[in-house]
């Protein structure tokens, strides 16, 4: 008689790894062959997780078609099954999995479209946070620029692509083939900001300097250091835009390095 843990390990092997030999020996006799109900549980597992991936990666699915998507999703689910019951957080590794998937190699931009979709998914489900308000700025003014560190809203994601991925993603989502075909794939790098504002999800393109400044602030660099690296940018204006858009939710003083 198996312990509960032994039995649950046998179910794992039967469902995820498709090896039901041990589990079948523990199933009581019924009108069905032991393999039949196991197949029902296995199908439930792959179907519900494929559905979760579909919800997070609609553009990838449109680009490759449903059948191909299901096949690649099945391989991904088997290789990287979810580690928690919070399925909104499931599927982060899908872009890298696609990049290593030989049959997807003909669509070179596919993994980057998946990266953008994952960042969008993260933004949609990120926790709520209160943006900095004018009343907070007085306290912030007391901190020297080389010590001022800002806390970004949890929904913010910054991506840098060598191809026009954001343009491709938009054209795919509205199913506009003409627009998709007209995109110059060789068009230079794209600097993308993903965020959830009061009015919903926003995906926008920034110029390179503003993107680098924003990325530096969002990764915890002090304001002065972030500003120094982009001398061509009017950082006061850029910061005002960030505050107006509610992109920062807190701040603290970074101890001086000297």
């Amino acid at each position: 008689m198996p312990t509960l843990l032994e039995l649950q390990n046998a179910v794992f092997r039967a469902v995820v790894s498709r090896d039901a030999a041990e589990l079948e020996t523990h199933i009581a006799r019924s009108e069905l062959a032991p393999a039949d109900p196991i197949e029902v549980y296995r199908n439930n597992f792959f179907a519900s997780l494929t559905n979760a991936l579909r919800l997070s990666y609609p553009a990838v699915q449109r680009l490759v078609g449903e059948e191909f998507f299901d096949a690649v999703a099945e391989g991904f689910i088997e290789a990287q099954p979810p580690q928690s019951a919070y399925l909104n957080a499931y599927g982060e590794g899908f872009a890298d999995y696609l990049a290593a998937f030989p049959a997807a190699a003909s669509l070179a931009y596919l993994p980057d479209v998946a990266r953008l979709e994952w960042t969008v998914n993260r933004a949609l489900h990120a926790p709520d946070a209160r943006a900095l308000e004018p009343a907070d700025f007085a306290a912030m003014a007391g901190i020297l620029p080389d010590q001022l560190v800002l806390v970004p809203h949890p929904s913010i994601g910054l991506l840098r692509f060598s191809q026009p991925i954001e343009e491709i993603w938009r054209a795919v989502l509205v199913q506009d083939d003409e627009r998709l075909n007209a995109i110059d794939r060789a068009a230079g790098p794209e600097f993308v900001l993903v965020e959830r504002s009061a009015s919903g999800l926003e995906v926008s393109r920034l110029d390179e300097a503003e993107w680098r400044f924003t990325a530096a602030l969002c990764t915890g660099e002090a304001f002065a250091a972030a500003a120094e690296a982009v001398s061509e940018l009017d950082v006061a204006q850029a910061l005002a835009r960030h505050f107006a858009a509610g992109r920062f939710t807190g701040f603290h003083r970074k101890p001086s390095a000297s």
Partner: protein, 302 residues
Amino acid sequence: MTMARQLCPPWPAASDAERSPIPAKPGIGLRFPHHRIVAETRPDIAWFEVHTENYMGGGTPLRYLDDIRRDYPISLHGVGLSLGSAEGIDSNHLKRTADVIARVQPGLVSEHLSWSMVCGTYLADLLPLPMTEEALEIVCRHVDQVQSALGRCLLIENPSSYLQFKHSTIPEWEFLAAIASRTGCGILCDVNNVYVSACNHGWDASAYLAALPQDAIGEIHLAGHAIKDIGGRILRIDDHGSRVSPAVWDLYAEALSRFGQVPTLIEWDTNIPDFEVLRDEAERAARVMESAKTGAIDADAA
């Protein structure tokens, strides 16, 4: 007497006015496609139940729920705590659950007699347990742990299952009754699940209902199921993808005659129909509740 029993007296003694208790009327399982129609039209429905896991992030879903919560009692139904896992409860998931409860202040909180986590992997399904003393002890320990962490009673739902294990020694109805008596939790009696499992395993559905402790029943679930033909053998699958079947309506009337008036939920999760269809099912449940009431009075008069 255990600590958990003191914390959690037998249902329904734990009612708390601040939590807008769930009324003994039909409610509807609220899913994303119906957020807007419910928020905008405020339909005449007594209460709603949502899946706890769908509101663990921020953004739009939580905004809708906050809004709907202002006018309706809400019940939280979890699918991810995996009370039957030998490896224990995922403390991060328990924390996420506690956070949603703190925000929503639900009238009821429920989970399943099943398991989903092993080897640190979530198997995305409500998997059946072997009905053994070992499993019973593990489930009771986890129910105690969750009730203590949340500071409130759980309702535990009977599962639908497609197989049984050779080494099971306890009938499922006795297993449920034992959890309720050992931990003080309540029972969410899913009448469709009783029917599905009874058909799949050759149990007597009426005897199942009769064996459940009447005063522990805090809620009833109703849903549709699918019929799968496997080489001429029928397997009933709990897919929540259709109207409640006639046989389950009959069993529901029987459940009400045993348990009295209990909050009753219409669930639909696959191929979700227009809201009107759910409302129609809820109205039918209301009619069954009404005739059960009359039946009870007749029985007293007789």
